[in-house]
């Protein structure tokens, strides 16, 4: 049971707490320009999409260098996206993606 990442978790907690606490503890100083607030609001979808894309499309080549990856994961993630868009249900989308991937790998 490795504890190596506990320090990282603590640092992430330290990075998170001010945005939660400052306006409540010292009201007024949190005011930011509207464009800065808009930028911060857009960071979340951008980061989540970046994580999804890199985890799906980028693999590691024999020499350890990043390579473009094409596989069943593409279809699984796209299917999940379609289900979420259509049914507004993430868990159903995840289920479909997992079942498709498992079935494809079982056949292969």
């Amino acid at each position: 049971m490795s504890p190596d990442l506990i320090l990282l978790a603590a640092l992430m907690g330290v990075a998170t707490y001010p945005s939660r606490a400052v306006p409540m503890l010292a009201p007024g100083i949190e005011r930011l320009p509207p464009r800065a607030l808009e930028y911060l609001r857009l960071v979340t979808p951008a980061v989540l999409a970046a994580l999804a894309a890199v985890n799906t499309m980028v693999g590691t080549g024999p020499d350890g260098q990043p390579v473009f990856h094409v596989g069943i994961e593409w279809i699984a993630v796209l299917l999940c996206l379609a289900v979420v868009w259509w049914r507004r249900n993430l868990f159903l989308g995840l289920l479909v993606a997992v079942v498709l991937t498992a079935a494809a790998r079982a056949v292969a």
Partner: protein, 301 residues
């Protein structure tokens, strides 16, 4: 235990304290609102358990130990940032970059905290400090709707929203996910390795409530892949996540689409709440919203 209402809530003509029957009506309103809070909270509990399990599974898949995954759920207690950290650790992103990413991802809490500030102004500073630690998308959405219904602050309602519906289920489900992942010998054979990217993509779709959000997500993904191939995946995620929003801000903002609040979980609903709070904070310096206006932002009826 309740606190004092902010000035805006006290001046509201519909405030329970100014009704003809005085404290009886106030108590009735408080109890009715708390019952609704409990019912609304059940959906949040289900969501927290589901996402907590997925987080635990993903963390296990990325090599986190049980204590590391739980430490993150306790100390960070922010789903999107935790998912991002799992992906970033798996891709070999350095700790400073992960901490920076966390700060950006969780900066939205600034808006929630600012919106709550007038309601909690008369609460003791140590209590506010603990409340801030437990402030999440879910706690904000549930509690601010409750405060608006009753026209004043209710500490017990806040603890319920923050601890009972979110903190406890999220942490128990994290443990469940890690343990479940541990008993599965080869997770990739049954497709569990695809859970993480699919969950990230699905959440991003849920957040694409307008043109700018969609552009931010699309541009962030494209930039991340290109930079990953040219440089390193760890750099690609950071560059895509930070440049995508800049490109999105170049396009005109489309109308905010109110999403179906039931099945996707709070991520999509709360982005709508964030949008409203953004305008409140930037427009009026953090004054509370009119308690009579749109009291159910972000919470399923």
């Amino acid at each position: 235990m309740t606190g004092s209402p902010p000035a805006a809530a006290q001046s509201d003509g519909a405030s329970p304290r100014q009704s003809a029957t005085g404290t009886v009506d106030a108590a009735t309103t408080l109890e009715a609102s708390r019952r609704r809070l409990v019912m609304d909270g059940l959906g949040v509990v289900a969501s927290a358990i589901g996402f907590g399990l997925v987080y635990g599974l993903s963390a296990r898949e990325a090599g986190f130990s049980l204590i590391e995954a739980v430490a993150m759920s306790v100390l960070v207690f922010a789903g999107a940032a935790q998912f991002a950290a799992v992906g970033a650790v798996a891709q070999g992103v350095g700790w400073p970059a992960i901490v920076l990413l966390t700060a950006f991802l969780n900066a939205r809490h600034l808006l929630y905290s600012a919106a709550l500030a007038p309601w909690v102004a008369r609460t003791g500073r140590p209590t506010r400090a603990v409340m801030a630690y437990l402030l999440t998308d879910e706690a904000f959405a549930l509690s601010i709707a409750h405060f608006r219904r009753i026209g004043r602050f209710d500490l017990r309602g806040y603890w319920y929203a923050a601890i009972v519906t979110t903190f406890i289920p999220w942490n128990l489900a994290t443990i469940g996910g890690v343990v479940l992942g541990g008993v599965i010998a080869e997770p990739s054979r049954i497709g569990l390795d695809v859970v993480f990217p699919a969950a990230m993509a699905g959440l991003a779709v849920g957040l694409a409530t307008g043109r700018r959000e969609a552009v931010a997500a699309g541009a962030g993904a494209a930039i991340a892949v290109l930079v990953s191939l040219a440089w390193a995946p760890s750099g690609g995620i950071i560059v895509g996540g930070l440049l995508g929003p800049l490109l999105a801000m170049l396009v005109p903002g489309g109308p905010v689409r109110r999403t179906n609040p039931v099945p996707l979980g709070l991520a999509s609903e709360l982005d709508v709440a964030t949008t409203h709070v953004t305008s409140e904070v930037s427009g009026s310096g953090g004054a509370p919203a009119d308690p009579g206006r749109d009291p159910d932002i972000g919470v399923a009826p």
